[in-house]
């Protein structure tokens, strides 16, 4: 089973990198670009075949390592 984990900064946490990307896009002429927030994507192969069990394990992985929940939130996509 393949899973994809999205990790992004929580709302309200300043994202200086996102801001710099936004400025650069404006500089390239993309005038419609407003706020930009960046994050990371982690792809994980799992031997687990039960989707519910996989999701529970992935949530545990996010809480223990993949995300720092002081500043980040995560979303899990399976399949």
């Amino acid at each position: 089973m393949k899973a994809r984990v999205f990790i992004t900064l929580k709302n309200g946490v300043l994202d200086p990198q996102g801001k710099a990307i936004g400025h650069a896009l404006n500089g390239l002429g993309f005038a419609s670009v407003g706020e930009v927030r960046q994050g990371k994507v982690i792809d994980i192969d799992l031997s687990e075949t039960d989707a519910a069990k996989a999701k529970a394990a992935l949530k545990d992985m996010c809480e223990k390592l993949l995300a720092n929940t002081v500043i980040e939130k995560y979303e899990i996509e399976i399949g």
Binding site: P16, N68, V70
Partner: protein, 221 residues
């Protein structure tokens, strides 16, 4: 005082820390590899040094927190043993939960490497007992991710309990409430971004850091 410096892959201030400790204590400092499971017997002070442990993969300090030595460090802190996390060491301490909050990319996005003016905010700790409250000191900083972030309730609690130990006089990195260094609730774990171990010799970087090590020696010997 028996000190141990933890060495992670890509720690790069471990020898600076050992040199400073040895100059101040006159004793050999133990260098402890991250894959070890225990601290040398009788360790009084554990130093988590600056650097780029595990190449800052995932998040600064996140992989170091998974090292086998961390269980021993947490047990040492739990028993009231002193732990000093400098720069990347501070990041490891927040990742481990020994200190609250997190350290994010500097607000200006630049890596900052220069001496900075700090205020010693609190003196009630083994780390700061030899400073005067409100004393101005200069320590070097060298970091790209030193922007201290925590929710307002946590910040209020840190301030209310006298656990903000150092503040920037001219905030270089966007840290909330100018915070440069904080203490845990039991007052035995300090994390700070500036480098006191690079300020123990007037020939290189000033000597304002000496009082921290002197205070630790007096408190822990």
């Amino acid at each position: 005082m028996k000190a141990a410096v933890i060495v992670f892959p890509a720690s790069n201030c471990d020898r600076d820390a050992a040199t400073a400790l040895e100059a101040m204590t006159g004793k050999k400092t133990a260098m402890v590899w991250h894959q070890d499971n225990e601290l040398p017997a009788g360790t009084d002070l554990v130093v988590l040094p600056g650097g780029f442990s595990y190449g800052d993969y995932l998040r600064c300090g996140a992989m170091a927190n998974q090292s086998s030595i961390m269980a021993a460090i947490k047990a040492h802190a739990e028993k009231g043993g002193a732990v000093l996390g400098i720069c990347n060491g501070f990041q490891v301490l927040t990742e481990s939960g020994l200190l609250p909050g997190a350290l994010m990319r500097n607000a200006g996005l630049k890596f900052i490497c220069k001496p900075v003016a700090l205020e010693v905010t609190e003196t009630q700790s083994a780390f700061t007992r030899n400073y005067a409250a409100g004393q101005a000191v200069t320590f070097p900083v060298a970091h790209g991710e030193g922007n201290y972030v925590a929710d307002d309730a946590t910040l209020d609690r840190l301030e209310g309990e006298g656990r903000v130990m150092f503040r920037y006089q001219n905030n270089p990195n966007g840290s909330a409430r100018d915070i440069a260094g904080i203490l845990n609730e039991k007052r035995n774990v300090l994390g700070l971004m500036p480098h006191p171990e690079r300020a123990v010799d007037p020939a290189t970087g000033g000597s304002d850091g000496r009082a921290m090590f002197q205070g630790l020696i007096e408190a822990l010997s």
